[in-house]
Symmetry: none
Subunit: 206 residues, 4 copies
């Protein structure tokens, strides 16, 4: 039973099983025996590919982080020079993140649920992740401010607020709605709120 697989495949198989189990039970309630049971391999096999339960979790987090950070960073080498470019850029970022999250839905759901309480090592990684996301947003805001595209605000606070906004919207969708939402519409709303604010205005330039 459980034929010999290429190293990479067996690892993926175990990662998939771990993701399923962690999602269903939570990290600390998840048992290694559940993971191997789901993967259909023996207990010992797990430890050929991961040195501990913690390590699978961290490996899954790498997957998650890679997907989201990549999406956040990707095609943004040109600093926007006009309000329209800024809006387009923010829209693109937001869309990319939401898409990445829904493309890896179980993974994203897992790390929106499991937080810094699960494991000290993971807590550190999560903190780093949030810092890095905030740094990226802050940097974008500084560019936009330098170009006179946005009004003067504390860029750190604004960056955190921006990220918090899509995080909570995302979390809500991931945890509460079984079907993926219209990501483009969602992104548009979020960006519009961030750029234009809520206030009703006589002339809504845009």
């Amino acid at each position: 039973m459980a034929k010999v697989l290429a190293v990479h495949d067996r690892r993926e198989q175990l990662l998939d099983a771990a993701l399923a189990v962690f999602s269903a039970e939570g990290y600390s309630a998840a048992k290694v025996s559940d993971i191997v049971g789901r993967a259909g391999v023996a207990q010992g096999t797990f430890y050929l590919y991961f040195s501990s339960k913690q390590e699978v979790m961290l490996a899954l987090f790498e997957r998650f982080q890679a997907a989201l950070i990549e999406a956040r960073r990707a095609p943004d080498q040109v600093a926007p020079a006009t309000p329209a470019q800024l809006r387009a850029a923010m829209l693109e970022k937001t869309r990319a993140i939401l898409r990445a999250a829904f493309a890896h839905r179980p993974l994203a759901a897992l790390f929106m649920k499991e937080a810094m309480g699960a494991d000290p090592e993971l807590a550190g990684r999560l903190r780093e992740f949030h810092q890095r996301m905030a740094d990226l947003s802050e940097q974008g805001l500084r560019q936009a401010a330098a170009a006179g595209l946005i009004r003067p605000v504390d860029p750190r606070v604004a960056a955190l607020a921006i990220n918090g906004a899509w995080e909570r919207v995302l979390t809500d969708c991931l945890l509460c709605s079984p079907t993926d939402p219209d990501v483009d519409a969602l992104a548009e709303q979020i960006v519009s709120l961030q750029l234009d604010g809520l206030i009703a205005r006589p002339t809504q330039e845009r």
Copy 2:
């Protein structure tokens, strides 16, 4: 040793000890023996006041939720009728929440760290909490929209975005800065972002 205390006091004493231990170790790594050790009572005494480790955690969550929901809901019976009233109201809410969080800093930090991964029961309570907070925000937005104070947006998405914004700012302060920030300034920034948006405008009313 450990004099007989009024039931209420002994319970509080255990809750305080539990808060300290959960904060230091995280929920699942925290041991009941640590809690009673810190409280200076015997192992068995714990179970005179709580039926399980989970129950203390839930009791602490009640404290947390009471503080935040109370702050969020408090003096808001009059629907704002002008932009200035709306801004004042939102400012007041945001301030109240941040103040409550910093007034119960360890509690707030605990529940910003520990998330839905810790315990299924707690996960449910947290979900409810977020729903209730979102409901309150959404309701406020609907009123404001009805009064024509804000432009037409999806109130649920906007509510989530608003809450996510202060949540992340708050989390960042709680976890990264050892000293309490200037809550009023912070609230002002957050509300300004939410109402006015980021876009630089020729005439910045207000």
Copy 3:
């Protein structure tokens, strides 16, 4: 089942059970579950009294060492001044050690069997034990040499040889003979060999 006992008694009970199990199975093959099973207590109880399997073994070794070292050292404050006194002193030492060993027969048998292979920590203790025994013997020989009672020999080598002699005799008795031998006769033979040697002599003064 298994009533509450005085701390000291429960500890002794576990030490006795551990001794029996270690003797029967050997240290590394012995299971903690065997020990608690034999003691009639629950698995967890073991860890209320010892922090690890290793620790019981070391505690047993303390018992062993205390008994033997005490026997070796005890009533020997006066340096012998005549051949007869020297012989009497050595006889007394040898008797005392053998008696102590047979008085704690299972303990002695255990540590004659288990050697430095069992556990690194125990190996260190055993090494120390042998050194200390050799030191005591060496010291006695130096005194005797200073008093002109023995011929000039390397005292370290002689001390090791003396100790090795009774150790092997003892080990042989412990492992091969189910009943205790005549300790006095044995001691007499050993000491006679050590003092007089094997050589047949015309006049055997003594």
Copy 4:
């Protein structure tokens, strides 16, 4: 990697690796994976040459035993007839044993450390080994006694004492001194102690 070797060589290679690992870690802490790692062959290869971890240990013990027993037995066909011949014979035996031990130092050190605790099967072999060594010594003593060369002593006890003496001296050297001692001088001291005893005598014949 790891070319096909003659069966004998591959076996030796594994034995050498096993000796190194057992010496470094002790029998029970040693892992088969360490042994094959050190030998540079695959895990499965081990089981082509040995049926179990125990078996390598026993094979090493055969090496050890062969060396020592051979040394002990070797050129001793003529019963000594004079005190000088007896002394020469004992000296030769003792030298031979010590030389053999230091010629196979790691092997000897291993089996002086690992004792009867390591493995039941090995314990039996060790017991046999000691019996055989004692038998050989006893037989020599009986011959010497029959020839009137030694005074009447219990030959078993004397044999054990004699063997215990060089065993402990040997063990001490193996474990405590990194460099080989002067085996001839050592043997001379040991034999002198055994034949002449410690007592200072007016006329020291010899």
